[in-house]
């Protein structure tokens, strides 16, 4: 626990950890918002969420290798992942939309295993990153360092979130998505083609993840098998924020990023993932407790 003493005695380190955490937290929030969208609109929990993120990351890496600046990968990954999501919907997902949610969890778990393995075969099992080559920014006389790409990724994440909100509010498809989320049957009665809405929603979610992944590949690292933690983070954020609450998702995402960074420093990085998964358990227990209190169940 010496590390706690370091944090207390050197607030600059704390600040550095928190700022870096907040920056990655925005990316967590992006993936989480996609999960909330799919969960809310079609009642599916997508375990392959993290694999979508990784796929987006590999788009950036492949483009980087091809000599194209990986920043251009953000729209490309989004478009490509939209197509993949759309295709997966028509192959598998539409069959589990009206079923027990556990079926959708298992089915998307299967998809995630397939994707992991395909990525492993195609891109190799190494930790990789796309170099955006932007350098670092120094603050407070060099005490706090932030990679510029992280700042840019944060900014782009915010832009994407705003664009998504505008899309859901203004466009016809966005309104159809929101209507379907509120009441699928009523939406169908009113002539909305909910099947197409679901397909678009799933594609949109994949696109969000793709863009998020491209940013992750530039600002951090990716690997075929580290998708699941992104899924779990998304789930956790959605549970804390609730469905359809963008502000909550952003706040929870940023908070998670910061908490994770500090925990990684205090406990040692080998326990950072353990922290994430235990935090999930804590969050769920807390949710259960809160629910029991609000319903005021004695049971």
């Amino acid at each position: 626990m010496d590390n706690i003493t370091i944090l207390l005695e050197a607030p600059v380190i704390t600040l550095d950890l928190v700022l870096n955490g907040l920056l990655i937290g925005a990316l967590f929030a992006l993936a989480a918002y996609g999960m909330a969208l799919v969960w809310g609109v079609m009642n599916i929990i997508n375990i392959a969420q993290g694999e979508f993120v990784m796929l987006g990351g590999y788009v950036a890496i492949v483009m980087g290798i091809a000599g194209i600046h990986p920043l251009f990968a953000v729209p490309v990954a989004a478009a490509l992942l939209y197509a993949i999501g759309w295709a997966l919907f028509h192959l598998v997902i539409f069959r589990v939309v009206d079923r027990d949610i556990f079926i959708s969890i298992l089915a998307t778990f299967g998809i995630s295993i397939v994707l992991q393995q395909l990525m492993n075969t195609l891109f190799g099992g190494n930790v990789q990153a796309a170099d955006a080559d932007l350098g670092t920014a120094l603050f407070m006389g060099g005490m706090v360092t932030l990679a510029k790409i992280k700042l840019l990724a944060f900014a782009l994440a915010v832009v994407l979130a705003v664009a998504l909100v505008v899309f859901l509010r203004r466009s016809r498809l966005g309104q159809a998505i929101r209507a379907t989320a509120q009441n699928t049957r009523a939406a169908r009665v009113l002539g909305i083609d909910t099947y197409r809405v679901h397909a678009a929603t799933f594609g949109l979610n994949a696109a969000l993840c793709g863009a998020c992944g491209a940013l992750v590949a530039m600002a951090y690292t990716i690997h075929p098998y580290i998708g699941l933690p992104y899924t779990i983070r998304s789930f956790m954020i959605v549970v804390v924020a609730g469905l359809g609450n963008l502000a909550g998702v952003i706040a929870a995402g940023l908070g998670l990023g910061a908490a994770e960074n500090i925990a990684g420093f205090v406990l040692g990085t080998q326990y950072q993932l353990a922290f994430v998964f235990l935090l999930l358990v804590v969050v769920l227990v807390w949710r259960n407790w809160r629910l029991a209190r609000r319903r005021q169940y004695l049971k």
Binding site: R295, Q296, Y297, L298, K299
Partner: protein, 247 residues
């Protein structure tokens, strides 16, 4: 004589909604008591409060002289106070007989008692009660393959299997074929007369409750509006205005 169930000044709110406001009522042993009131008047909330599904904000609930407002659902059920649900609840994946067997009384039994092979006597009791509600021929069918009305009868039989001292029925005739309602009323009366089960019944069907209950309480807007024997309630101006007039 003290009442079997004694509800005193019970209040319960959900957020800003006052579902029950200082309600007091009594159910005496061996009687059939009705609880009526327009939709949203707080009848089911009161039932849920009594069986411990949620704690009350204020007031006391006594069953056989014992304060139960702070007990948990299973513990209250084990005292012999059983309720049925408005939306019928049965164990759909199990056969009718299995539904009955697991409904046998848990009174005074511990976890270890569950590790006994099912007894033949219980099996006979289950079959007899299924025959009593007219489901004997279907006893080996999965409960979710029964019609809604039959599921309601099954739930009633399950409640009797529990050998309750008092049975609280939430709209026992709702959704049941009108032709079968008279038979159900008969069985409710028999359960009361033969098995000695005290009944406390929420009912929307006026004809049913008037012919069934000996004493009726009427709720409106979460408050107790009137009480008395059926004839009195039938002619009570306030009840007619609040309830019958609402139609």
């Amino acid at each position: 004589m003290t009442a079997m169930l004694e509800v005193k000044n019970v209040s319960k709110s959900f957020g800003a909604v006052r579902a029950n406001e200082s309600i007091s009522l009594e159910v005496h042993e061996g009687r059939i008591v009705g609880l009526i009131g327009p939709n949203g008047s707080g009848k089911t909330t009161l039932f849920s409060s009594i069986v411990g599904a949620h704690p009350v904000d204020e007031g006391s609930i006594r069953f056989q002289g014992r304060e139960i407002s702070r007990l948990r659902v299973a513990d209250i059920a084990r005292l012999g106070l059983i309720r049925t649900f408005q939306q019928t609840r049965i164990y759909g994946g199990m056969t009718c007989v299995e539904n009955m067997l697991i409904s046998a009384s848990q009174r005074g039994s511990s976890l270890l008692d569950l590790f006994h092979i099912r007894s033949a006597a219980r099996g006979r009791q289950a079959e007899d009660l299924l025959a009593f509600v007219g489901l004997h021929a279907k006893r080996h069918l999965r409960a979710d393959s029964l019609s809604f009305g039959q599921q309601k009868l099954l739930e009633f039989a399950m409640a009797l299997m529990n050998e309750p001292k008092m049975l609280m029925l939430d709209e026992p005739t709702a959704g049941i074929n009108p032709i079968l309602i008279d038979g159900l009323i008969d069985r409710l009366k028999q359960a009361n007369a033969v098995f000695g089960v005290t009944l406390f019944v929420i009912e929307h069907n006026m004809r049913v409750i008037m012919s069934l209950a000996e004493h009726i309480y009427c709720l409106a807007h979460g408050e107790l509006l009137a009480e008395g024997p059926p004839e009195e309630i039938r002619n009570d101006r306030r009840v007619i205005d609040a309830y019958l007039g609402a139609h």
